[in-house]
C-alpha cells in the first residue's frame, strides 16, 4: 500500500516537471520564432518563471520525498491552480469565456483546505484589481464590472468557507476514527503476540464451553490446529481425565466450578490424550472466570502446562522411598526376630551378660526401625498425603492411656510420671457444667504426639519427674508436658521443631534421636489446627505445650 502511494507521487512529480519544462520551452520557442503580442501578457512570463522553479523543485523534492509526500501533493495542486490562472489570463482575463473556471477552482481550493481557499480568494480578487487598474485601465472607466466580479468572488469564497468547515469536521472525525481503529488493531495484535509468546498453553471458552481462543503452545500440546479447534466444545479438543481415570468434563468441569464460585480453580490431577501421538499429557492448570464490562460471566480462561515428566519423577520417587523402606525393614525385622528367639523363646541358653548385650542390640534395631517409620511419615507429610480419621474424643482419657504405657519406663528410671488431675474443668476461673471437653482430631495421630512428647520428657529427665496437665479455653484444649530435665538454650527452642534439628551438645548425643520426631509432632498438631511451643530453662527443665481444637457442640 505504502509502496503504491510512493509510486503514485513519483509519477505525479515527473509529469508535472515535464509540464513545467514544456512551458519554459514553449515560452522560449515563441519568444524566438515569433513577435507575438501575447508575450506582453504578464501571465505567460510568470508561468515561464514558475515553470523554471517547478523544474528545479523536482530535484529538491526528490531529496525530501520520504518526509513530505503530502506537500508534494499540495505543490501539484498549487501548480494546477496557477496554470489555470495563466490560461484564463492568456485568453483575456475577465473578458475571457474561460473566466468562470476560476469559480470552480476557488471552490476546489476551499474543498481541499480552507487555507488554500483563502489564498485562492486573495489571488482572484487581487488579480481582478490589478488587471482592471494596470492592464486594461477599465477599472477607472467601468468600475461596476469589476465590483460585480469582486463581489461574486467574495460570495463564492464565503460559500467555499462554509463548505470547507463542514468537510473538515467530517474528515477530523474520520481521522480520529482511523486513529482509533489502528490503535485497536495494534493493541489486539500485541495481545495476540503476548498470548502466542507464552510457553504455557492458553485457551478460553465461552459460556457454552466452546473454544474461543487457543494459543500456539496449546495447539502444540493438543496437536489441534487453531482453525479446526475454535468453535468446538472444549471437551472434544481436550477430553480431561483425572488421576482415577474418571472423565472430568461432564461432572467435574473446572470451568463450571469457576462459574459457580467466581473464584479461580487450580487443578493438577487431570490429563488429556494428544490427538496425534495418543499419549497422555498430565496437566497442571489454573482456570479463571472471564467477565464482560458489566461484570457478568462471559467465559473462562485456562493456562496449563505439561507436567507429565514431573509426575513421573514424583511417582518414581515415592515408589523408591516406599520400596527402599520396605526393603530396609525386612532385614531389621529378621534380625530383631532372631534376637528375640534367642532371648525370649527359651530355645537357647543365654547368660546374663549376653542377654544384656542382645537387649541393647534389639533397642538399636528398634530405633532404626523408628527412623525408617519417621522417614516414611515425613514423606507423607510433605506430599500432603497424611491420612486422617477425625473423630471427637476425650483428650484427658488419651493422655491417661499414654501415661499408663510409660509408667513402667519412668519407674525403671526412678522418676515420677503423673497427670495433674483436671477433673474440675474450668473456663476463665469458673466451673463449667454440661460443656463437652472433647477434642476434634485423629486420635491415633494425637496419641503419637503425646507419646513423642512424654517419651522425650522421660528421656531427658534424670531426677524429679514429668507431669502432664490440660487446660481448656473457649476453642482449644492445651496439653502441657513439664519435666525437670536438663532444659535447653533459647536458640535451640527456636529451631526445635524444624526437620533434622538436633540440639548440638554431648548430653543429647548420648540420648540419641533422629531429628524428625518433633518435626512430625509439629506437623500433626498443625494438621488439626493447633500449635506447639516450648518453654525451657537450662538445668531446670522444659515444658512443651500444644493445642487441639475442641469439638463444637
Amino acid at each position: 500500500m505504502e509502496g503504491n502511494l510512493e509510486k503514485y507521487y513519483k509519477s505525479i512529480r515527473i509529469w508535472l516537471t515535464a509540464f513545467h519544462l514544456s512551458v519554459i520551452i514553449a515560452y522560449g520557442l515563441i519568444l524566438f520564432f515569433t513577435d507575438w503580442e501575447i508575450l506582453r501578457y504578464a501571465g505567460f512570463r510568470i508561468a515561464a518563471i514558475y515553470g523554471l522553479f517547478g523544474f528545479i523543485g523536482y530535484f529538491i523534492l526528490n531529496k525530501w520525498e520520504e518526509k513530505m509526500p503530502k506537500d508534494i501533493f499540495e505543490l501539484t495542486f498549487l501548480s494546477v491552480f496557477v496554470y489555470i490562472f495563466f490560461i484564463v489570463d492568456f485568453f483575456g482575463g475577465p473578458d475571457s469565456f474561460l473566466f468562470p473556471i476560476l469559480y470552480v477552482v476557488l471552490i476546489s481550493c476551499y474543498y481541499y483546505h480552507k487555507l488554500w481557499g483563502y489564498i485562492a480568494s486573495a489571488f482572484c480578487i487581487g488579480y481582478l484589481i490589478l488587471h482592471g487598474a494596470i492592464i486594461s485601465t477599465e477599472l477607472i472607466s467601468n468600475p461596476g464590472k469589476y465590483l460585480g466580479l469582486v463581489v461574486s468572488f467574495l460570495l463564492v469564497s464565503v460559500a467555499g468557507y462554509i463548505m470547507s468547515k463542514k468537510t473538515s469536521e467530517i474528515s477530523n472525525k474520520n481521522e480520529s476514527l482511523t486513529e482509533l481503529a489502528s490503535k485497536v488493531t495494534a493493541e489486539k495484535s500485541q495481545d495476540e503476540a503476548v498470548l502466542t509468546a507464552i510457553a504455557d498453553g492458553v485457551y478460553a471458552v465461552d459460556m457454552d464451553r466452546n473454544l474461543v481462543l487457543l494459543n500456539k503452545a496449546a495447539t502444540g500440546l493438543t496437536n489441534w490446529e487453531e482453525k479446526d479447534a475454535l468453535g468446538l466444545k472444549c471437551s472434544t479438543v481436550m477430553k480431561l481425565i483425572n488421576d482415577g481415570d474418571v472423565s472430568v468434563c461432564e461432572k467435574d468441569c473446572p470451568a463450571m466450578a469457576v462459574w459457580n464460585t467466581g473464584e479461580p480453580v487450580f487443578r493438577a490431577d487431570t490429563c488429556f490424550v494428544n490427538k496425534k501421538s495418543k499419549k497422555r499429557i498430565q496437566l497442571s492448570s489454573s482456570y479463571a472466570p472471564i467477565k464482560d464490562f458489566q461484570g457478568n460471566m462471559s467465559g473462562a480462561i485456562c493456562v496449563f502446562r505439561d507436567i507429565t515428566k514431573e509426575k513421573e519423577v514424583e511417582r518414581l520417587r515415592n515408589e523408591f522411598v516406599s520400596t527402599a523402606s520396605h526393603e530396609l525393614r525386612t532385614p531389621i525385622t529378621a534380625t530383631e526376630g532372631y534376637i528375640s528367639i534367642v532371648t525370649d523363646s527359651g530355645m537357647c541358653k543365654v547368660d546374663g551378660k549376653s542377654k544384656e548385650y542382645l537387649g541393647k542390640a534389639k533397642n538399636t534395631l528398634l530405633s532404626m526401625s523408628k527412623l525408617i517409620q519417621n522417614l516414611l511419615a515425613v514423606t507423607k507429610i510433605e506430599e500432603g498425603k497424611l491420612e486422617t480419621n477425625i473423630t471427637s474424643f476425650s483428650i484427658h482419657d488419651l493422655v491417661k492411656e499414654v501415661i499408663d504405657v510409660f509408667l513402667k519406663k519412668s519407674q525403671d528410671k526412678n522418676i515420677s510420671l503423673e497427670i495433674v488431675d483436671s477433673k474440675d474443668l474450668t473456663l476463665k476461673g469458673k466451673k463449667v457444667v454440661g460443656r463437652s471437653l472433647n477434642v476434634k482430631a485423629d486420635m491415633e495421630m494425637l496419641r503419637e504426639v503425646i507419646n513423642n512428647l512424654v517419651e522425650n520428657a522421660i528421656k531427658f529427665t534424670e531426677k524429679g519427674g514429668v507431669s502432664v496437665s490440660i487446660d481448656y479455653d473457649e476453642e482449644f484444649a492445651t496439653v502441657n508436658i513439664s519435666d525437670t530435665g536438663m532444659g535447653m538454650q533459647k536458640d535451640a527452642q527456636k529451631h526445635l521443631f524444624e526437620k533434622f534439628y538436633r540440639i548440638d551438645n554431648t548430653a543429647t548425643r548420648e540420648v540419641g534421636g533422629t531429628g524428625l520426631g518433633l518435626y512430625i509432632t509439629r506437623s500433626i498438631v498443625e494438621t488439626f489446627g493447633g500449635r506447639i511451643w516450648v518453654e525451657s530453662i537450662v538445668g531446670k527443665g522444659s515444658t512443651f505445650h500444644f493445642t487441639v481444637p475442641l469439638t463444637l457442640d
Binding site: 532372631y338 528375640s340 523363646s345
Partner: protein, 122 residues
C-alpha cells in the same frame, strides 16, 4: 496343639516365624506364595494362617478372598501381616474376612506371638 501356617515370600522371615512358633510349641507349616498357600491350606487344615499380602503369583488379598469362599477354610482364623499400612488396605483386609490385620513395621515378633495366641484363644 494348634497348627499354624505361615504364608510369606521372604525366606528369612519365614524361617524366623517358623522357628519362633515352633519354640512356642505350635506345629508350623509354611508356604512361599499365594498359589502354594491355597493348596496347602485346604490339604493341611491349619488352625490359623499368618498371611502376607505382597507376594508373587496371587496376592494375599486374593488368597484371603478365595480361602473365605472355600468351605474347608471358611472358618480358619487368618491374621494378615503386611507392610501395607494405609487405612484403605486395613479396611480391605478386614472386609475380606481377616480376624486381625498387623502392619509389619508396627509390631515386634513377640507382639505377633501374643496376637496369634489371642486370636487362637478367641
Amino acid at each position: 496343639m494348634s497348627k499354624i501356617m505361615i504364608v510369606e515370600d521372604d525366606p528369612t522371615l519365614r524361617d524366623i516365624y517358623t522357628t519362633r512358633f515352633t519354640a512356642e510349641g505350635y506345629t508350623v507349616i509354611s508356604a512361599s506364595d499365594g498359589e502354594a498357600a491355597l493348596s496347602i491350606a485346604v490339604k493341611e487344615q491349619p488352625n490359623l494362617i499368618l498371611l502376607d499380602i505382597m507376594m508373587p503369583k496371587i496376592s494375599g488379598f486374593d488368597v484371603l478372598d478365595i480361602l473365605r469362599a472355600t468351605p474347608e477354610t471358611k472358618e480358619t482364623k487368618i491374621i494378615v501381616m503386611s507392610a501395607l499400612s494405609q487405612t484403605a488396605d486395613i479396611e480391605k483386609g478386614k472386609s475380606l474376612g481377616a480376624n486381625a490385620y498387623l502392619v509389619k513395621s508396627q509390631v515386634t515378633l513377640t507382639e505377633v506371638v501374643e496376637k496369634v495366641k489371642a486370636v487362637i484363644a478367641s
